[in-house]
Amino acid sequence: MSVTRDTLLEMYRTVSRIHACDERLRGLLNQGKIFIFYYSPRGQEIIPAAVSACLRPDDYVVTTYRGLHDEIAKGAPLRELMAEMLGRSGGTCRGKGGPMHISDPRSGLMVTTGVVGGGLPIATGLGLASKLKADGRVTVVNFGDGAANIGAFHEALNLAAVWALPVVFVCQNNRYGEFTPIHETQRVEQLSSRAAGYGIPGVTVDGNDPVAMYDAARTAVDRARAGGGPTLVEAMTYRFMGHFYGDQMPYMDQAEYQAALAADPLPRFRAQLLEAGHASEEDLATIEKEAGAEADDAIEFAFASPPPDPSTLFEDVYVEVRR
């Protein structure tokens, strides 16, 4: 096995933090304590935990509206993340971005876009800057299977290929684009096959398998950092909570959905760690408890953070305030 015990435990810490935050946000929505459009990453946590384990703190990440897992995995501070979810002044974006537009450049999280596919061209630019500055950074851009059908995907992959940019394109294939199953919107078996059209490597991996996902990410990230250019990584996963939280999911195949739930990657990862002797029940319980406490603290911070003052509206439109 390529991935070390320490790395696997670090990944477990990451998925636990993601899970704790996600669970609390869904709980608050259920209780009617918050009213936000929330795109839960439940089911897709392993992917960014594995990818981020291959990244340096100064590497760049771009993600999409279903991005809480990517944001937490890259190291965005939970307090500010939760405050931004609630539209508070203490949020990563001072309440101006919201769940679909989280940026935290200190942790390398450069863009969260609400436009399907919109982040891919920008990721090429981050990669271009790294290439021109020779700073050795890698850019990872996350997107869903739906984004593979928009023009920006094609333009960005081609440009990244032509310029051999240090960019890893991570397609988190959860098999649904909004409310439509993937078989209605494409005719290829695997989206990774599209990489051939750009002359770059494409690989499909079980994104819910921590070791396989880590190996695929490691190969792609190392290749990018070494100057080998971009890779398209298709990480197969599943979306447990629909498009947005509260979505009744009438369009989902029930047999497929139940099978996916039964194969929930989080308890499976947990069992694997125990079975391999990487951690004791107590070790994992400690990790989970710490993650839960961190999430509670972040939520508490978010509720305590005041709403933004209306006077801040005119700030951040331009470098200088205009009226």
Partner: protein, 332 residues
């Protein structure tokens, strides 16, 4: 050779002045680079505006791209966020529609959406035609679209000197700027400061002083307005205010001029309906109601796509006679 002084001018066309601004920016700041279609030598740009730059500064910093407007603007945005100062060329401004998501939903909003934690110091150069019989998809003037998006700066030069000074200001600005080049003016010569020359954004320029009526305009129509003003000399005393920068715009200069003349006509090539002229007319009416001697009139393109046939295109575009008629109407 004596060193170039700041006041020393050389006679350059607008195309050459833009080339000089780019050349000096590339030489002065290692963060500046260019990207776009056909900009590399030997082509040096479809209008040869970037001629010689890839040879002098290298193909890394004067980068040829595929015909991929979304990727061009997206790549420029990402590079700008990472600390570089890209100058992206979108050949003809009609093609801004192809990359509107990157421009409108991303470049313009990333500073705001991040609460000021990121910014996009990006300059987009694009040309507009009109009067060249290039048809409906290569002849539009779409600056009003851009002015409607908070977060963008929008600039249109009318002289070679302004082109150099405004482009330099755009490249140094920390927010996205769209620099619109009237292709009809590329070949027109004028004096240009040889050394560093910066025209700050948001400053209009009185291109001709007058007391009876203010023509508020920009770009190519500045010259049409000056010709009309000259033709009316001795009859009507016309002031010509060149806005130069549409976002931000120089409200003080507009108010100062129209407070004096009490009459204003806005002239632009773009379709009149919902054009920049409509916003200016509303602004002046709100600010100067009660002191205006006549309603603010607008002269602009007719409310149709830009047609192909010469006779149709001439009828579509605002002509000197239309400007003259509007001036006579408000001074009647």
């Amino acid at each position: 050779m004596s060193p170039v002084t700041e006041r020393e001018t050389v006679e350059l066309t607008m195309g050459a002045a833009i080339n000089q601004a780019l050349d000096q920016a590339l030489a002065d700041d290692p963060a500046v680079f260019l990207l776009g279609e056909d900009i590399m030598d030997p082509a040096g740009g479809v209008m040869q505006v970037t001629q010689g730059l890839s040879t002098k500064h290298g193909r890394d910093r004067v980068r040829e791209t595929p015909i991929s407007e979304q990727a061009i603007i997206g790549a420029a945005i990402g590079a700008a966020m990472a600390g570089l100062r890209p100058v992206a060329e979108i050949m003809i401004m009609d093609f801004l529609a192809v990359c509107a998501d990157q421009l409108v939903n991303h470049a313009a909003k990333l500073r705001f959406m991040s609460g000021g934690r990121t910014n996009v110091p990006l300059t987009i150069r694009c040309l507009h035609t009109g009067g060249f019989q290039m048809g409906a998809q290569h002849s539009q003037t779409l600056e009003a679209w851009l002015c409607h998006v908070p977060g963008l700066n929008v600039v249109v030069p009318s002289t070679p000197a302004d082109a150099k000074g405004l482009l330099t200001a755009c490249i140094r600005n920390d927010d996205p700027c769209v620099f619109i080049e009237p292709a009809a003016l590329y070949g027109a010569p004028g004096p240009v400061p040889a050394g560093e020359h910066v025209v700050p954004l948001g400053r209009a320029d009185v291109k001709r002083t007058g007391s009876d009526v203010t023509l508020i305009t920009y770009g190519r129509q500045v010259h049409d307005c000056l010709a009309v003003a000259a033709a009316l000399e001795g009859d009507i005393d016309v002031e010509v205010l060149d806005l130069r920068s549409l976002a931000p715009w120089d409200s003080e200069a507009m108010l100062a001029s129209v407070s004096k003349t009490r009459r204003a006509v806005v002239v632009h090539q773009a379709v009149r309906r919902c054009g920049v002229g409509a916003e200016i007319a509303a602004f002046l009416s709100e600010e100067l109601w009660g002191t205006l001697a006549a309603p603010v009139l607008r002269v602009g393109g007719k409310d149709t796509p830009v047609p192909y046939a010469k006779e149709l295109e001439e009828f579509h575009l605002p002509q000197a006679a239309d400007i003259t008629e509007a001036v006579r109407t408000v001074t009647k």
